[in-house]
Amino acid sequence: MDEKRYILSLLVENEFGSLSRISGLFSARGYNIHCLNVAPTDDESISRMTIVTMCNEQKINQLMRQLDKLVDVVNVQDLTQETHIEREMLLLKLKCNKNQREELKRLVDIFRARIIDVTDATYTIELTGATEKILAFINSIGKIRIVEMVRSGALGISRGNQGLEAK
């Protein structure tokens, strides 16, 4: 079976060890984590995780059941199964000399990014968008040298009235 990209949303107990229990399940059962994001929610007892993984259809069903079985996992949803929105944030520090500044500013405008810090030798840029947009921006900077790059990993939310609920 062909591997596909899946984006999973999890509500987990905001407790000691939750993250390692979940990441441990991925490594113990041979799943990859392409990216993983975890942060608090409006309910202080719950954290929300977004995980992107590459696998086939049979394996994703098994992974969902295994995740659901963990006592720390309150709810789990495969966002890929429904219409959803994905966003990722990129922070990029670029080394750029005077000659490159104009071109870079143009690119920032085209991608609706923002320059959030400037030194005499660097620009630091913030960009939010779907992963494809992030990748397109990184590709378009050409020969400008990257000093450092930080990506949040994908965040996802479903479209429509329904939200992922703590069961």
Binding site: E13, F16, G17, S20, R21, G24, A28, Q58, N61, Q62, R65, Q66, D68, K69, L70, V71, D72, V73, V74, N75, A166, K167
Partner: protein, 575 residues
């Protein structure tokens, strides 16, 4: 009521009805041991190695169904429990392990006897807790017992820093009568329409097969299973973990299936048109080549764990819930559809099965000069009238015990099926004996396995546990040797047990009775004599044929109909 952390722990265990704690004291649990010392209703069993504590608690749980409880110290105390917890985890055995931890102010500082207990045990427990405040102790214990004993059972670790057990700091104590865990709600029963559908499929079968595992025993569903199987008159096989879930002496029972299963069970699996799997998880030792598994069958799977469904084998219909409740509902539904059962088709199917059975695949050649291991188990079965609790270690002796001791009742066969832990048998027998002191408990073992937890002979003396140890002594790691004979052209790398102890002297030095049997003519009389010694542990060292192999055998990665029968059978190779 104001209690210290240690007293809360003891009260919580009392409220949970704990009868025995298997443990070993050490620095981080001394406060708890001091509180336990003052408590007369909970009996503590001092093992000689923490691994023994986990296996003993495990054996206790498997024998009586109640969770086994372990108490150990931090660092090496808990790391020594790892094998035992992994054993219980693989076989879904309810267990509570309480480990001391260094005081909170030292956690993370590489303190003396500090180990990251929750980190180490995370993949081998159903869940684990590190208690961070005194006020949480009672609730964590309630949750731990709830998680360990419900749904698909399993071991739960509670790690508690020493300062939280300080006898001088007391807080209000009230044990919660109920606990809500929002993320943990094991399913009880499945939808009626799915149960009806399963009944319809079952009743329309022409070549049905029922395959049940440890879930029948853990779910206490053997009575419902028996009723249903008798009503259907269908053939049934058990996994290694499921033996005793259906009476082995019943004519509808085809024996164990899988790698060392019977010819009739494996052939019926391969040829069936409807397979009902209950409380079994399609382990690789059961399925063989998954691409050739039950090639013509519609498969129905009943299991309490949703993640077991279609994990290895894609099934056509799944019923998720407690095996007892689902089988009860299914039996009712079957009554409505039972007219659809084709009696002629089932009769024809049984005729075919009887032909397979006539092969007598467990036949072996007896010898006048050397004791055959199979004969030992058959004789043991006769002498104990099939009523003993039999624990085993791992290897050839385990397979022979599974094949030749016919278990008619659940909970009597106690072995490490999933993890395959050598050293399990003796401590597990201690747990079983404590749970059922009046019953006969026999540990069937081999000379390699028994040495892995031999120190527990001292525990058996201290608590006067008159277990019978039947040591099938072939001076080899038998199963390793068998594989080396089959797959490595007889190069017996490191599988010969040199420098073995004199087991009779060894057991007598521990204060027990040792009996050696080496002549086939004396097997029955001497074994009988040994079993008659009621108040002492007897180590029965049986010198057996060195090169006997376990048959039938499906070699790894082969299908159910690609079995090898013993050389005493006419056609050895069947394709």
């Amino acid at each position: 009521m104001k209690l210290s952390g240690s007293e809360i722990i003891i009260q919580a265990l009392k409220k949970e009805g704990v009868e025995y704690i298997f443990g070993y004291p050490g620095g981080a649990v001394l406060h708890i041991y001091d509180a336990l010392f003052k408590e007369k209703n909970i009996k503590h069993v001092l093992v000689r190695h923490e691994q023994g504590a986990t296996h003993a608690a495990d054996g206790y749980a498997r024998a009586c169904g109640r969770p086994g409880v372990v108490l150990v110290t931090s660092g090496p105390g808990i790391t020594n429990c790892v094998t035992g917890m992994a054993t219980a985890h693989m076989d879904s055995i309810p267990m509570i392990v309480i480990s001391g931890q260094v005081s909170r102010q030292y956690v993370g500082s590489d303190a003396f006897q500090e180990a990251d207990a929750t980190g180490i045990t995370r993949p081998i427990t159903k869940h684990n807790f590190l208690i961070d405040k005194r006020e949480s102790i009672a609730e964590v214990f309630k949750k731990a017992f709830e998680i360990a004993t419900t749904g698909r059972p399993g071991p739960v670790l509670i790690d508690i820093p020493k300062d939280l057990t300080d006898p001088n700091i007391k807080i209000d104590f009230k044990y919660p009568s109920k606990v809500k865990i929002r993320s943990y709600k094991p399913k009880k029963n499945d939808k009626q329409e799915k149960i009806d559908q399963a009944a319809k499929i079952l009743c329309s079968a022409k070549k049905p097969m029922i395959y049940t595992g440890g879930g029948i025993i853990l779910g206490n569903a053997h009575k419902h299973l028996y009723k249903m199987v008798k009503k259907l008159n269908y053939p049934i096989t058990n996994t290694l973990m499921g033996l005793g879930g259906f009476p082995a002496t019943d004519a509808q029972f085809l024996g164990m299936l899988g790698m060392h299963g019977t010819y009739e069970a494996n052939m019926a699996m391969h040829d069936c048109d409807v397979l009902l799997a209950v409380g079994a998880r399609f382990d690789d030792r059961v399925t063989g080549d998954t691409s050739k598994f039950c090639p013509n069958a519609k498969i129905i799977h009943i299991d309490v764990d949703p993640s077991s469904i279609s994990k290895i084998i894609e099934v056509d219909l799944s019923l998720v819930g407690e095996t007892s409740l689902i089988l009860k509902s299914l039996s009712k539904a079957i009554e409505l559809h039972s007219k659809k059962i084709s009696k002629t088709a089932i009769k024809k199917w049984w005729k075919q099965i009887e032909k397979w059975r006539d092969k007598k695949c467990l036949k072996y050649k007896k010898s006048k000069t050397i004791i055959k291991p199979q004969e030992v188990i058959e004789t043991l079965y006769d002498i104990t009238k099939g009523n003993a609790f039999v624990t085993s270690d791992v290897g050839q002796h385990q397979m022979w015990a599974a094949q030749y001791y016919k278990f008619d009742k659940p909970n009597r066969w106690i072995n490490s099926g999933g993890l395959g832990t050598m050293g399990f048998g003796l401590p597990a027998a201690m747990g079983a004996k404590l749970a059922f002191p009046k019953s006969e408990v026999v540990c069937v073992t081999g000379e390699a396995s028994i040495l892995m937890c031999i120190q527990e002979l001292a525990t058996c003396l201290q608590y006067m546990l008159p277990i019978k140890i039947v040591n099938l002594n072939n001076r080899y790691m038998g199963m390793v040797r068998q594989w080396q004979e089959f797959f490595y052209e007889g190069r017996y790398a490191m599988s010969y047990m040199e420098a073995l102890p004199d087991f009779c002297k060894l057991s007598s030095s521990f204060g027990h009775v040792g009996i050696q049997i080496d002549k086939p003519s004396e097997l029955r009389t001497k074994l009988n004599e040994a079993m008659k010694i009621k108040n002492r542990l007897v180590f029965i060292d049986v010198i057996t044929d060195q090169e006997e192999n376990v048959y039938p055998m499906i070699k790894s990665g082969k299908a159910h109909n690609e079995m090898h029968l013993s050389p005493t059978n006419e056609d050895t190779e069947l394709a």
